[in-house]
């Protein structure tokens, strides 16, 4: 039965449906008369059926996570808009992604593209905001989002600081263990948030330009606790310097907030110059629509120029606009004076400050 060796190999091809008709009939004839070979056939078929039947559905987060990264990569390059990761529990986590023409090589390595799944699971449990994944595709068709496409050398990487050993020391935000940095070719990404919330399955990117409303307050004006960011009550007691509800205006304003320096700055002492409150688009949450959610950013006036940071980050970035230009936007009717605004403003509870 030396032939069996030849036939056994053919059996493998038979299982794969890759035998010619001729070979098939020859083999079948042999199988009729050879028990050993029949058993080989059965064995190979069993293996084949068992493996191919044992398929599972991939977790939902797989596609979501991938598209999340795709969108981040997509909006690198020349985009100079702000994008904000939307993470669960309002308040505690503010996400700030700044894009600029400068490459912030915050992450040295690019091997670990994926989030650690235990973080995902944690985020899942904590998630109390449901943002339909389909919202991710609502990226404004803006010419500034037109980027060169994936012929990039460096893959996009999103990496969490705390667990990986592959972290790049030079650029990691060592001060802030909760930061996650995004390395997108020709852009900078700075995402500051509690790491377990990074990959909430309902994440999406919200662009400042889509905010339904945006308010600028003088000085520091932050919610007293997490819950306050939901309430509009507090906000009513203090008048903003500027209240924008017009999307054109908001777009223009967000264009002001571009960052061009590579350097990261320490959060200055004292109080910020302005606090920016913007409303997260409610269409993106399935929460009770009567309670809008707000996020804050702080503008600082320093000797190095205007800096911008999120509420709880330890790092600020430098804005390209000067304080005069910024003020010109906020106070269009007056002549901006660079001497007036350098003193830090006290946390105010009083009514409208008057800088006119």
């Amino acid at each position: 039965m030396d032939n069996c060796n030849k036939y056994i190999e053919m059996i493998s091809s038979l299982v794969d449906g890759e035998l010619s008709d001729e070979q098939m009939s020859e083999l079948n004839a042999h199988l009729d008369s050879c028990q050993n070979c029949r058993r080989v056939y059965e064995a190979f078929m069993n293996i084949s059926n068992t493996i191919s039947d044992d398929l599972v559905e991939p977790p939902e987060k797989l596609a979501q996570g991938i598209m999340y990264k795709v969108h981040i990569a997509d909006n690198g390059g020349t985009s100079r808009h702000f994008a904000f990761g939307r993470f669960t529990a309002l308040a505690a986590c503010l996400a700030l992604i700044l894009y600029a023409g400068v490459h912030f090589n915050l992450f040295g390595t690019d091997d670990s593209l994926a989030p650690k799944t235990d973080s995902i699971e944690m985020a899942d449990e904590k998630s109390d905001v449901d943002i339909p994944y389909s919202e991710l595709s609502e990226i404004p068709e803006d010419s500034s989002f037109n980027t060169s496409q994936p012929q990039v050398e460096d893959p996009t990487s999103v990496e969490e600081n705390t667990d990986t050993e592959e972290q790049s020391d030079e650029a990691s935000l060592e001060n802030d263990p909760e930061s996650v940095e995004i390395n997108v070719d020709d852009s900078i990404g700075l995402l500051s948030l509690p790491e377990e919330e990074l990959f909430d399955k309902d994440d999406q990117l919200i662009f400042l330009t889509e905010a339904p409303s945006l308010k600028i307050y003088e000085g520091e004006f932050l919610p007293l606790d997490q819950e306050d960011s939901k309430k509009s009550v507090d906000l009513e007691e203090v008048e903003p310097i500027l209240n924008m509800e017009n999307s054109d205006e908001i777009s223009q304003f967000s264009a002001l907030l571009s960052v061009s320096e590579k350097e990261k700055f320490v959060i200055p002492d004292g109080k910020p110059l302005y606090t920016i409150w913007f409303e997260v688009p409610t269409s993106s949450t399935s929460e009770d629509l009567s309670e809008p959610v707000f996020m804050q950013m702080l503008i600082w006036d320093t000797d190095d120029g205007l800096l911008i940071s999120t509420n709880d980050s330890e790092v600020a970035l430098k804005l390209t606009v000067t304080i005069d230009e910024f003020n010109a936007f906020i106070y269009p009717e007056t002549e901006p004076s660079s001497t007036e605004t350098s003193a830090p403003v006290q946390n105010t509870q009083s009514s409208t400050t008057d800088n006119l």
């Binding site: 060796n5 056994i8 190999e9 493998s12 091809s13 299982v15 794969d16 890759e18 028990q35 050993n36 058993r39 080989v40 059965e42 064995a43 190979f44 078929m45 069993n46 293996i47 084949s48 068992t50 493996i51 191919s52 044992d54 398929l55 599972v56 559905e57 991939p58 977790p59 987060k61 797989l62 596609a63 996570g65 991938i66 598209m67 990264k69 795709v70 969108h71 990569a73 997509d74 670990s112 593209l113 994926a114 650690k116 799944t117 235990d118 595709s137 990226i139 989002f145 037109n146 980027t147 060169s148 496409q149 994936p150 012929q151 990039v152 893959p155 996009t156």
Partner: protein
């Protein structure tokens, strides 16, 4: 999804429309994930590896020339990501195929008569477990080619494109993979026999 539809989407992505990548993800994620799962052996790593594979595809779309199906190219990427991952995780050196393995004509397929006779009943669940266990012990190159065939259903031609091998090599390597898997199962006392209605089981 037809080749045409695939290529259309790919062009869109290349021109800046990241959203167009999504249907490609949805279409292929099951196969990629299952391939990864059986290659690396656990869900957590499979998840990471799958994302890596898709992102590699996204970032390298410029290099995809449409000569093969997108899925075949993607499975190639996935296989490579898996193999790299396994190499980096192993404490022992990567078990690549040696010359000896490839040319091992002498080694006969161990199929003792009595074990393969229809009297032995086999639980499907047990069988699946044994095979999964056996797969983990299979050398990675055998494992990957067998999975491409069984999970992703690639033809010999497609496998030869995916792995850059001659079709003849694909055929014989698949055969040897099965042979090797059988001998692993046999050594473990688990024989991939078909389910039989008879009651007797071998102890």
């Amino acid at each position: 999804m037809t080749r045409e539809e695939e290529n259309e989407l790919i062009e869109k992505v290349k021109h800046g429309d990241g959203n167009a990548f999504e249907p490609l993800v949805l279409e292929n994620q099951k196969n990629v994930y299952n391939l990864a799962l059986k290659m690396v052996g656990n869900e957590e790593d499979a998840f990471d590896v799958s994302q890596d594979a898709f992102m590699k595809a996204f970032n390298n779309l410029g290099k995809f020339r449409g000569e093969s199906k997108f899925s075949v190219w993607l499975y190639r990427l996935t296989t490579n990501v898996c193999l790299d991952f396994l190499r980096s995780k192993k404490r022992k050196p990567y078990i690549s195929l040696t010359q000896g393995d490839e040319n091992d004509e002498e080694r006969e397929l161990l199929i003792p008569d009595d074990r393969f006779s229809p009297e032995y009943e086999f639980d499907k669940h047990e069988l699946r477990q044994s095979i999964n266990k056996g797969l983990k012990q299979l050398p990675e190159d055998y494992r990957s080619i067998l999975l491409l065939r069984e999970i992703d259903g690639l033809s010999y031609d497609e496998i030869s494109q995916a792995l850059k091998l001659e079709t003849g090599t694909v055929k014989s390597r698949l055969f040897r993979a099965r042979k090797k898997l059988c001998s692993i199962l046999y050594a473990d006392g688990n024989i991939p026999h078909i389910h039989s209605s008879k009651d007797t089981k071998e102890v």
